[in-house]
C-alpha cells in the first residue's frame, strides 16, 4: 500500500505540474486569440463583414516588430528598463503597422465596394484577395522562411503557479493583453468614438441621420481593431518568430473564438479567445498534441449546436 500510495502521489504531482503548465500556456495563447478576435468582432459590428484579411494585419504587426527589434537589439542582451522600453516600443510599432494596413484595407478593398452597394459576397472575395496579395507580397519581400525575433530579454520563469513556472514571455502577454483589452472595453463603453461605433453597429442609417459620420467611424473601427491585431502579431512573433504565413492559423482560431463568444460581442470575443486557448492547451492532458485542432473545433461545433449565437450571444451595438 505504502509503495503504491507513494507511486500515486508521485504520479499526481507530475499530473498537477503538467496541468498547470498547460493552463498557463493556454491562458497566454488565449490572450493572443482574444486580441485578434476583437478585431473581427469590431469590424463585424459596423460592417456585418468578416475581415478575412485580418490575418495579414496580424502578420504585418509581427514583421514591423521584428524589424524594430532587429535594429535596436542586434546581438546585445537588454535587461531592466531597456527590456520594458523595447517591449512597449514593439507593441506600439506592431500596433501602428497593424492600424496602417487595416486602414489601407478599408480604403482599397472595402470602401469602394461600400460606395457601390456591392453584395456581401463581393466583400468576402475582396477580403480573401487582399489577404493573398498581402501575404504573398510579404513572402516575396521578406523571404519565405521562418525568422526568429531578437529577444528583448532572457526568457525565464518569473514566478510559479502550483509549481508551474510562469515565463517572462507569458507575463508580457498577460500584462499587455489585460491592459489593451480593458482599455478597448472602456473606449467602446464610454467614449464618443465608442458611442458612434455602437450606433453604427445598431443601425447605420439612423446613426448617420443622428449626425454620426459613418465613414469616419468605420475607418476608426478598422484602426482600433488593426492596432490590437498588429500588437498581437508582435507578441506572437516574440515567442515563435515571424514568417509570411504566420497569420493564417492564429487568425482562423481567433475568428473561431469570436464566433464562440458571440460575433459582434466584444467581451464575448475576449472570453471566447481565453476559453479556446485554455481548452486546446489542456486537451493535451487527455489526448495527444495532434488532436488540439480536433478538440478546438469540436468544441466550437458543440457550443454552436446549443447556443447558435455563441456563449454571450450576438450583442451588436450595445455597451459590451
Amino acid at each position: 500500500m505504502g509503495a503504491f500510495g507513494h507511486y500515486l502521489s508521485g504520479h499526481f504531482a507530475t499530473f498537477r505540474l503538467e496541468f498547470w503548465s498547460l493552463f498557463v500556456g493556454g491562458v497566454a495563447n488565449g490572450f493572443l486569440y482574444g486580441m485578434i478576435a476583437v478585431g473581427y468582432t469590431l469590424v463585424y459590428g459596423v460592417l456585418r463583414l468578416i475581415n478575412f484579411a485580418h490575418s495579414e494585419i496580424f502578420m504585418s504587426g509581427g514583421f514591423a516588430g521584428y524589424f524594430v527589434m532587429k535594429a535596436l537589439i542586434g546581438n546585445s542582451v537588454p535587461s531592466g528598463a531597456a527590456t520594458i522600453f523595447l517591449i512597449v516600443l514593439g507593441i506600439v510599432v506592431g500596433g501602428t503597422a497593424g492600424a496602417l494596413v487595416a486602414t489601407l484595407l478599408e480604403r482599397v478593398a472595402y470602401r469602394p465596394l461600400r460606395r457601390r452597394n456591392a453584395p456581401k459576397l463581393a466583400y468576402l472575395i475582396s477580403a480573401i484577395g487582399a489577404s493573398y496579395f498581402l501575404f504573398n507580397l510579404a513572402g516575396k519581400e521578406f523571404g519565405r522562411y521562418s525568422i526568429s525575433m531578437p529577444q528583448p530579454y532572457i526568457n525565464h520563469p518569473v514566478f510559479h503557479v502550483f509549481g508551474a513556472g510562469v515565463q517572462l514571455y507569458y507575463v508580457v502577454i498577460f500584462v499587455a493583453g489585460v491592459v489593451m483589452l480593458f482599455a478597448l472595453d472602456r473606449v467602446v463603453a464610454t467614449t464618443k468614438l465608442g458611442r458612434s461605433i455602437r450606433a453604427v453597429a445598431q443601425d447605420a442609417e439612423t446613426a448617420s441621420l443622428m449626425g454620426v459620420n459613418i465613414d469616419r467611424t468605420i475607418a476608426l473601427t478598422f484602426i482600433v481593431g488593426g492596432a490590437l491585431g498588429g500588437a498581437a502579431g508582435f507578441l506572437f512573433g516574440l515567442g515563435t518568430g515571424v514568417v509570411y504565413t504566420m497569420g493564417f492559423v492564429p487568425a482562423l482560431k481567433a475568428f473561431t473564438a469570436a464566433v464562440l463568444g458571440g460575433i459582434g460581442n466584444l467581451r464575448g470575443a475576449m472570453i471566447g479567445g481565453l476559453l479556446l486557448g485554455v481548452v486546446e492547451s489542456l486537451s493535451v492532458v487527455f489526448v495527444q498534441a495532434a488532436y488540439i485542432d480536433v478538440v478546438a473545433f469540436g468544441i466550437l461545433v458543440a457550443v454552436l449546436l446549443f447556443r447558435p449565437t455563441g456563449i454571450l450571444g450576438e450583442r451588436l451595438g450595445r455597451a459590451a
Binding site: 515563435t240 514568417v243 492547451s281 498534441a289
Partner: protein, 392 residues
C-alpha cells in the same frame, strides 16, 4: 561483357601488350601504341531542371577527382568525364543509361543521383556490366534489386533511424527517449525507426505526434501547439528527445522546449540539417546543443574545399553530396588501378573487393552494394553554427 574486337585490333592490342607492356585495351582502341589509353567515367544525374544544383554539386566533385587522378601522373591510362543528364527523372533515366552503355569508352558510372532514376536505369547498366556507384540514391530496395553492378557510398534510408537510436541509448547512455514526429511520411517513418530501435536497446520510449504547422508550410496546425507539446515532453522526464521532421517546425519546437525548461538532449535527422534551423529558432540560443544526423557528410577537408571552390566557383561547404561524389569517383579510379586489364566487368568485380579510405568514410561495400560499417554522420549546433562531430 561483350567485346566487339575485330581481329586487327586484337592483334595490334596483343602485340602491343607483348612488346610495350601497355595494359591491354578491351573496349577502347588506342591509336598510338606509346600513348596511354583513354577511359571515360560517366556521371548520371540531374543537370537541368529543378534539381540541377544537386547535380552540379556532384559533377564538379567527380571532375575534380578525375583531374587530380590525371595530374598525379601515376595512372597507366587517361580519364575523361562524360555527363548524362537525367533531370532526376525516372522516365528520362533509361534513355540516358542506354546512351551511356553504348559509349564504348565508358567503363563506369558515378550515379545515378536519384533513387527513382536509379531503379529505372539499373536494368540497362546491369546487362552491360557497367558499375554504378551512387553518391546519393538512398532507397532501401535498390540494394535488393539483384543488380550485381549497383554500389552506393551513402547509407540507405533504413540505416539512419536505428543508428540514431543506438547513438542516443548506447553511446550517450540516455535510457529514456521521447520520440516526436511531425506526421509526415518522412518524419513518422524516421521517428518510428528510432522508437523501435531505442526500445530494443532497452530504453524507455514514449511517442507523440505534433503535426507540422502552417507557419512552416508543412501542415495546418498552429504554432501555439508547441508550448503544450513541450510541457508534455518535460513532464515525461525523458533524458533525450528525438524529432522526426523538418528544420522549420523543429525550430519552433526548440524555442518552446527551452521556455518549458527542457534540459535533455535533442536529436533530429537530415530533414532538420540546415542553417535555417538556427535562423528560425527563437531565441536562437535554444538551438545550441541540438544533434543533427545525416547520411551525408559535410566536407571539412581544406584541400578538397579549396580545389572544389576553384573548379566549381561555389563553396563545397553547402554542396550536398559533393564529398560522396568525390569518394564514388575515387572508388572507381582505385578499382581501375588494381586491374591489369580495365574492363567494365573487371571494375564491378574489383569494387566488390575494394577497401579504399575515402574522404568521408572507408569505402567498402557489402555484397549487395551497400556501404559497409557506420555511415551516418552526427552534427551538433554549437554557438549558432552546425559542426560535424563525425560518424555515429
Amino acid at each position: 561483357m561483350k567485346l566487339r574486337l575485330n581481329k586487327t585490333v586484337a592483334a595490334v592490342a596483343s602485340s602491343a601488350l607483348l612488346l610495350m607492356v601497355v595494359p591491354a585495351v578491351g573496349i577502347a582502341s588506342t591509336s598510338g601504341a606509346a600513348s596511354k589509353p583513354t577511359y571515360t567515367i560517366g556521371y548520371e544525374g540531374p543537370l537541368s531542371g529543378g534539381n540541377q544544383q544537386l547535380g552540379l554539386n556532384m559533377v564538379f566533385a567527380v571532375q575534380l577527382a578525375i583531374n587530380q587522378a590525371n595530374a598525379s601522373g601515376k595512372l597507366p591510362f587517361k580519364l575523361t568525364l562524360r555527363t548524362y543528364d537525367d533531370q532526376g527523372d525516372p522516365t528520362i533515366s533509361p534513355t540516358q543509361a542506354q546512351a551511356a552503355v553504348a559509349n564504348k569508352k565508358l567503363v563506369a558510372i558515378v550515379g545515378p543521383a536519384f533513387s527513382g532514376a536509379t531503379a529505372a536505369a539499373e536494368p540497362f547498366y546491369s546487362a552491360a556490366h557497367v558499375a554504378t556507384v551512387s553518391p546519393s540514391a538512398t532507397r532501401v530496395s535498390l540494394a535488393t534489386g539483384g543488380w550485381h553492378n549497383f554500389f552506393r557510398v551513402v547509407a540507405d534510408d533504413g540505416v539512419q533511424g536505428p543508428a540514431d537510436a543506438d547513438y542516443l541509448v548506447k553511446k550517450l547512455k540516455l535510457n529514456s527517449v521521447y520520440v516526436v514526429d511531425d506526421g509526415t511520411s518522412y518524419g513518422a517513418g524516421l521517428a518510428g525507426a528510432v522508437a523501435a530501435q531505442a526500445k530494443s536497446d532497452g530504453a524507455t520510449v514514449s511517442t507523440a505526434t505534433v503535426p507540422g504547422t502552417s507557419q512552416c508550410q508543412n501542415g495546418t496546425a498552429s504554432a501555439t501547439e508547441y508550448s503544450a507539446a513541450a510541457t508534455q515532453a518535460v513532464a515525461s522526464g525523458a533524458k533525450a528527445l528525438f524529432y522526426g521532421g523538418y528544420y522549420c517546425d523543429l525550430g519552433l519546437f526548440l524555442g518552446a522546449l527551452s521556455s518549458a525548461g527542457y534540459t535533455g538532449t535533442v536529436m533530429s535527422g537530415d530533414g532538420s540539417l540546415s542553417p535555417a534551423l538556427i535562423q528560425g529558432t527563437t531565441p536562437a540560443s535554444a538551438a545550441n546543443g541540438t544533434l543533427l544526423t545525416c547520411a551525408c557528410a559535410t566536407s571539412t577537408n581544406k584541400k578538397f574545399n579549396s580545389a572544389y571552390q576553384a573548379l566549381a566557383h561555389f563553396s563545397a561547404a553547402n554542396a550536398t553530396y559533393a564529398p560522396e561524389s568525390y569518394d564514388a569517383a575515387n572508388a572507381i579510379i582505385n578499382a581501375m588501378k588494381h586491374l591489369k586489364k580495365v574492363t567494365r566487368a573487371g571494375i564491378v568485380a574489383e569494387l566488390h573487393k575494394l577497401a579504399y579510405k575515402g574522404m568521408t568514410k572507408l569505402v567498402k561495400f557489402q555484397s549487395d552494394g551497400n556501404i559497409a560499417g557506420s555511415a551516418i554522420f552526427v552534427n551538433k549546433v554549437e554557438n549558432g553554427k552546425i559542426v560535424q562531430l563525425g560518424l555515429e
